[in-house]
Subunit: 479 residues, 2 copies
Amino acid sequence: MPGSAGASAVSELPTRLEVEDLQQSLDEVQEILAQLRPQDERGAAREPEELLLAKVRAKLDRLHPADIAVVLETLPRDERLVVWNLVKAERDGEILLELSDAVRESLIASMEPGELLAAAETLEADEIADLLPDLPEDVAQDVIRALPQEERERLRAALSYEEGTVGALMDFDQVTVREDVTLEAVTRYLRRLDELPGHTDQLFVLDRERRLRGIVPLARLIVSDLELEVSQVMSQESLQLHPEDGAEDAAQAFERYDLVSAPVVDHFGRLIGRLTVNSVVDHIREKSAQTQLAESGLQEEEDVFAPVWNSFRNRWAWLALNLVTAFIASRVIGAFEGSIEKLVALAALMPIVAGIGGNSGNQTITMIVRALALGQIQSEYWRRLLRKELGVAMLNGVAWGTLLGAVAYALYGNVSLGGVMALAMLLNLLLAAGMGVAIPYFRVRLGRDPAVGASVLITACTDSGGFFIFLGLATLFLL
Amino acid sequence: MPGSAGASAVSELPTRLEVEDLQQSLDEVQEILAQLRPQDERGAAREPEELLLAKVRAKLDRLHPADIAVVLETLPRDERLVVWNLVKAERDGEILLELSDAVRESLIASMEPGELLAAAETLEADEIADLLPDLPEDVAQDVIRALPQEERERLRAALSYEEGTVGALMDFDQVTVREDVTLEAVTRYLRRLDELPGHTDQLFVLDRERRLRGIVPLARLIVSDLELEVSQVMSQESLQLHPEDGAEDAAQAFERYDLVSAPVVDHFGRLIGRLTVNSVVDHIREKSAQTQLAESGLQEEEDVFAPVWNSFRNRWAWLALNLVTAFIASRVIGAFEGSIEKLVALAALMPIVAGIGGNSGNQTITMIVRALALGQIQSEYWRRLLRKELGVAMLNGVAWGTLLGAVAYALYGNVSLGGVMALAMLLNLLLAAGMGVAIPYFRVRLGRDPAVGASVLITACTDSGGFFIFLGLATLFLL
């Protein structure tokens, strides 16, 4: 091993990009921006503003559009606009595509119609389709009008598919060949293209009616004899997607079969586009972000530096919903005010029963919703699943119920109170398990997404249910 | 458009795989298995067991290993073992790789050491590294011993990197070339390989010390003149990863730069492996699953059909933790029992104050934890963030506080009670916002993962805090 020799040779290595580089670029931009801020107290000498801005501009010019997007996302609104105005106009389009919706909106709002039109013109049809909903109506019309005929039709196609379908994620950058030509001819054709579109790992073989006959992986093209015809080397078996297929199904197929790209065909088998793994990755990330945000009650990805009012709008609906369920729980307690007045210990103990039920129910429902998303629960196994969850709840109920019964007895020296506590725990955990299975079961039967609102529903059941069970038992046995 | 002509030609199209096909295969396997079950009451005539099993086997032989994994995950344990024994032994290894940990363990437990060894021998070093921790100690030793020298070293390398690093995800299937040969020679070399490894979108150019000099995208190899030398067409600028880089950083780089593969080099710039987009996709999925499970208190992915005892073990720690926080909240209430005894309405109203605080705090902390994961919060902006969150809380507090104050007044006809309710709401929402910013801030400062336990911590604060604020104010002003 040429240890030291190797080390000394590091500087001769080609320009490399490493994962830390982005953080470093970010820090450098931040540092220059910090110098731009009015420095009220310390009147430190600083470089003239133009020089500083020129420095930021030079840094930005060397960054990948996706990295500029990260820089923009990390800046508060005023500084974001300063940086945005330093970006070369011809890169605006690419960068807007990489931004989260909230930040994208804030930048679009700052741009003139002419600038927006110019930015859109640098993009391809499938990319414009992503951007169009965020553009002002008149600019959107101008963008569509400015497109050449073929692109306009593609744009129309891309816009016609709903979010969450393959059609909304596909692009039109496929490379196609005929089956009766030689690989030699294919190679000559590809050379004329000069550069292949990103993620071209296979060529699509079409007949005269544009129907997909097969695929030729680039890797096979390279290792095959150039005198062979396309029909001799193409694969006929491949995954074919339809534009109305669910994006999530397609993503699972990409994951299972380790795909880089897949053809998208219509119902006559005609090729209309392709789906690539980078769109799939974006989809997976976005989907997982949405789940995470929805679970804690944010309607959409929030710009961290959004004005207070925007944040309020993004969050109020969930709080209102929870207020309703909390109000119902409060009325359940209200019905037992007489009992609480007689035995005030109930007020202190009741949140424990409700809380543990909520946690346990959330565990059950999360596991089931995940298993459903992965297609792991076939219709004949629900009964078995319910039995298992009730079993776990029984075990939990006996364990924690006994413990808490003992604690309640220790605190208040009242054996019956301990018994009621233990029994209420057990019953509320059984309720949580039952509802944790029943809620997703019925949502699936009704054709709804079992994930939506799962946590609110189960918590509402276990809160109100927990208070009712505990206070009800106490009223029956203790008073 | 040859509409009807196209439709009639559909049947002539090549064998296609569509996304619905998996569900159909699943249903077919399920159907045959259903016939295998003892049919106690209805003694319907059925085919002999061997014939049914042969049918399942024939179906399985036509499925992709990843699809067989899905079939296995959807079956209860007894039927899962029946199906597993029908799978051809030489496919065992690939299938085990595709399974979730819990299901994989259940199958490994059913296999003989000899079978396990045979299964492992069908895999490559990086795949064995994934499987090894689940194998019995003596089998693992045998597997390592049976490997050829080079593979054993790769295995050792793969095992030496921690989970969550690039080293743990990389494979060793890179295709490498020298820079001083012609593309003609490269093409001849590739043809001898017969088949290129999956996800080969670029060749890595090495010098004599195995240091990475550049990369040649396959797409460029195809469109270039074969008389050129590698050095004339290679790119020197490319993303280079180190095995100890974080998998999450690498995944973000793949996403941003739309990569299919990237070289992994050591600190002397020597190539040791490569990372491919399919490993990145798997990582992203797994990470998002973990987050989702952790948030609702499941320690790991659960086999839906796991025995009750296994599920209990997977869930108890979280319940115990929540029990502690619920107990603390209960003691806060206990301290005010005197007040509740005098004004029992407090018991009914207090969960509303605590609950809304918890929800609002979870919104804040989720947004911040996500923004931190995306690198959107630079250190100088925490103060600004806190101001914003306090602003949102103020708005929420005034809106919901007023509403709930009015409701409390309407219910109990007590103006002061309404006032206390409104004020307590406002204060608890401010507390939630403050802690929602402070908890991730301090966890980042201490070098901890801000996501872990975020929800428990904030809920603990807003529960105990909410009870304390509301009951405290009531004691001060109402009694």
